[in-house]
Amino acid sequence: MNSTVYLDHAATTPMVPAAVEAMTAHLLDVGNPSSLHASGRQARRVVEESRETIAQAMNCRPGEVVFTSGGTEADNLAVKGIYWARRDVDPRRRRILATAIEHHAVLDPLHWLGEREGAEIELLPVDSDGRVDLDALRASLASDPASVALASVMWANNEVGTLEPIEEIVAIAAQHGVPVHTDAVQAVGAVPVDFAGSGVDALTLTGHKVGGPYGVGALLVRREVDVTALVHGGGQERDIRSGTIDTPAIAGLAAAVELSVKHQAEHATRVALLRDDLIAGVRHVVPDAILNGDPTLRLPGNAHFSFPGCEGDSLLMLLDARGIECSTGSACSAGVPQASHVLLAMGRAEEEARSSLRFSLGHTSTEADVRAVVEAIAPCVERARAAKA
């Protein structure tokens, strides 16, 4: 019997069969997509068809898809590349606006730019649900629009699941001609994401969050936006990203993106129902559990709780021992759990931040998974509280 209850889809979700098929179909093919002979042309064709598939699913032009090694590289490329390019055109452009709850793949490049490249980083506050303060964005932009290099706001928060008001952010930034990047790795396939329709200038997506392979992702970036290269070499991807193109992984990515976008609406409905059952069930057996994030404007698969009086990592360990896999949703360096910067930015005390646990549902989640959590959570909370006393 398979006893594992996997509720950590926001960390990584199982590959869908179509993506496995698309990827493995090319593992034995020879041919560098940059080679000029027939095998090379054949590989290139697979890559370009994949690019077109992704472009169609995301509503962008094929030329706007830049393949990367994943979400972190795409975020780095967007943040550093756009900052450098815009600053080189006008040296006054040194400010970068972002939220305090960005993923570390955005926050850390920002801090690096601040320390090493003269950037001035402004982290916009969020409310207690984790939504960015639009007035703060307006005020910050209006104070000196000519000095802003870019704004970066995630489409959906990876920890608490709150959806950010991307359309309004884009509208505000557009008034000042400031480009917007969004990290949408959690959003693609979970909520409607339309690149051209959203008006963002750059968008990060990654394979392993949508049922595709690890180690491959893309930055969608408008053709009009200049991006300075991060990785130099053969210039394979629009001359802003070098490295031999990974044909099988890109084929797998395209299949996964296509399917996840196609089935987004029904997937979201199904998963949100399970998620709502999980929230109701957990609250029933642990009445003082606190649901974090926006109660409705959130990712359909995300249920993020604080359990007062518990250490999140004690709970995780106790659930893991029962075959239930979830996350404390916190950043790990050397596996050292640190209080989540997202919850702290939402105004929670460190103690409360450390008491949190994220269950994230995905395409393989079932009612049985939800039942297992609801059955196990109360005794685990009781034990975790005893361990902290």
Binding site: D313, S314, L316, M317, L318, D320, A321, S333, A334, G335, V336, P337, Q338, R383, A384, A386, A387, K388, A389
Partner: protein, 377 residues
């Protein structure tokens, strides 16, 4: 039993965890993150809790086939061990932070949390042996490998703590443990033993203390005075750089009249005076101890031995436990004092050090040295 194995990333704790698993226990490995700012890599035998150590512990857990987690105890460690270390030095004493860590962290904070989470015991890679005594109490004895014996730093554990402890390496020598680690495919088999104080990464205690204590340094300098003549021999830049019995680093220009080396005899933290003199003036024959911790029943008088520093020699001693009449409502155990009459004199003993009391190979308990009595000529 459900056993929590504390895994430092070193060879000893890895083999201890493996042996606990082999014995049929349900073992979970944990690495304690004790540093607030872990460094990426360890350098030689110094430092601990680096990211590399954590990864080494994780890989050992993989090889053994047990679950593995990291527990962040950096705040507790800082409050109970690092702050205590600083306070003791600020007061002119010489503490042993390893004992404090065992007393307050490994066999208190970790053990309490483990018991709360449903574990029955904590296993570590310390070299010491546990046995059930004739009175059904758990006895702690020196390890078979006397060179590696760590019962000294465990001398603060009481019966309740010992009853939930496992030391699977106590019956083995270090050589055997290293060979066993290699046989088991544990990549940490060749990792150097750790030495020094783990949170002082570069081993420079005096520099570390000066930096961390800042304004709290008891003094920023004072005279170095010859005990016999009262002559000021030189100046120093703060007593935290000195400990009783120290010979190196005095940098006294004028040699002693008889040409023999001089040692630190006394440290006066308020005035900053460091008194020096010949080695024989370091000899002490009586120690007064406070804050005793007993492994089992409390003796009133005992003829045994005491050990005064980690891997130090044993001294024959007569130990008398005083129980002053209870006044007020303070906990009686805190008020208990321990007088230790040394039959062989000891040299270079500083207040703050721990005296661990043995009856043969068995650890009876320990006390913190509050004062010493010099051997009178």
């Amino acid at each position: 039993m459900k056993v929590l194995a504390a895994m430092s990333g070193g060879v000893d704790s890895a083999v201890a965890a493996a042996r606990a698993a082999d014995a049929g226990h349900d073992v979970t490995g944990i690495h304690l993150a004790l540093s607030r700012n872990p460094q990426s890599y360890r350098s030689g035998a110094r430092g601990c809790c680096t990211i590399e150590d954590s990864n080494d512990a994780r890989r050992a857990a993989d090889v053994i086939g047990i679950p593995f987690y990291v527990w962040d105890l950096s705040d507790r460690f800082h409050a109970d061990v690092v702050e205590d270390f600083m306070d003791e030095y600020a007061a002119g004493r010489t503490p042993n932070p390893c004992l404090r860590c065992n007393e307050k962290i490994k066999f208190a904070a970790v053990l309490d949390r483990a018991l709360g989470l449903g574990f029955d015991a904590v296993a570590t890679g310390h070299y010491a042996q546990l046995r059930t005594g004739p009175d059904a109490l758990i006895e702690m004895h020196r390890a078979v490998d006397h060179g590696k014996d760590q019962s000294y730093v465990l001398g603060v554990l009481d019966q309740e703590q010992l009853a939930h402890s496992m030391f699977p390496l106590g019956d083995s020598t270090k050589d055997v443990v290293r060979l066993e680690a290699a046989d088991r495919g544990l990549l940490v088999a060749d990792k150097p033993d750790s030495h020094d104080i783990c949170f002082v990464a570069d081993g420079d205690n005096a520099g570390w203390l000066k930096e961390k204590l800042g304004d709290r340094v008891p003094n920023s300098g004072g005279d170095i005075v010859d005990e016999a003549t009262g002559e000021v021999l030189g100046r120093h830049e703060g007593t935290v750089a000195y400990t009783i019995g120290q010979r190196k680093g005095l940098r006294i220009g004028t040699p002693a009249p008889d040409g023999r080396p001089r040692f630190v005899l006394d440290i006066e933290p308020v005035s900053g005076t460091v008194t020096v003199g010949p080695r024989e003036r370091l000899a002490v024959d009586r120690l007064e101890g406070i804050k005793p911790r007993w492994c089992g029943s409390v003796p009133s008088r005992l003829e045994g031995t005491v050990q005064l520093r980690a891997h130090g020699e044993e001294h024959r001693a007569v130990v008398t436990v005083g129980r002053p009449p209870q006044v007020g409502s303070g906990p009686p155990v805190e008020r208990t004092t321990v007088s230790i009459e040394l039959l062989d004199p000891a040299y270079g003993i500083a207040p703050g050090q721990a005296a661990v009391i043995y009856a043969g190979s068995r650890v009876v308990g320990s006390a913190t040295i509050a004062s010493t009595r010099r051997v009178t000529a």
